[in-house]
Symmetry: C2
Subunit: 159 residues, 2 copies
Amino acid sequence: MDTHTGRPATGTGTDTDADRRGPIWDMITGRLPPSPAAATLGWQLVAVDPEQGTIEVAFEAGEQFTNPVGVVQGGFLAAMLDDTMGPALVLTLPAGQFAPTLDLQVQFLRPARPGRLVGRGRVVRRGREVCFLAGELTGPDGRLVATATATAYIQPIRR
Amino acid sequence: MDTHTGRPATGTGTDTDADRRGPIWDMITGRLPPSPAAATLGWQLVAVDPEQGTIEVAFEAGEQFTNPVGVVQGGFLAAMLDDTMGPALVLTLPAGQFAPTLDLQVQFLRPARPGRLVGRGRVVRRGREVCFLAGELTGPDGRLVATATATAYIQPIRR
């Protein structure tokens, strides 16, 4: 977050937010609310760098995501990582394109308690259609709780 | 579901539900409510066979799980698969043991619309501590929407 303006920090490229298009930018600029899935996860943009293909987001892991022993069920951490890596790619796309996740691999390093979790995602390789992504999720103490990789496939939005 | 008794169908082993212990059985018999994560996903047991290490569950994928193009965000399908495979193993454990997921791999075969999804999970190999699991998720038309594998690790419950 850019603490001066209170707006999400963006990269050092010459484009401004207003020049960009697409669902993620519409969410950033407030033209669209976050997707229902993102809202359910307490998704919040912290910083983006489209030139580098990186993003930092925060989530609010509520008690409603916990398993029988009181820690966040791994699947919800997977959902957060999906909603970290996907946007890292989508923010590089022009309007009218979307990039569904084809596969997702998650490693659960430590138990995560309910609270604020920070996700960092990056585009490892962006092909014309097939893209490889990576991400990680850290807890309030800054320690990694999960890491992930994913493959996504760029395609036109069909409604 | 056993349509005669209205209770979840169980395998052909000689044990009865009342002989079994552990969080999943407590959920089945109504001694405990479903975990918060399971409730959030609309988790419902359909059938179990502890001898075979298989389970069939149903989920209610709500609108709150959808992504910007209106289909269920893949991460929530991953959460459902985690809550399919995990219970397949946990239902074979004695009281006082739990089996956190170490890693999770998901393949997204088709888009899933909000609605009822059915998960089938099985224990592929149960070691003393390390267990390999597999699962799949089908849509209302019976077509596969996602498949998954996972590794879980049996350990005592520490509170």
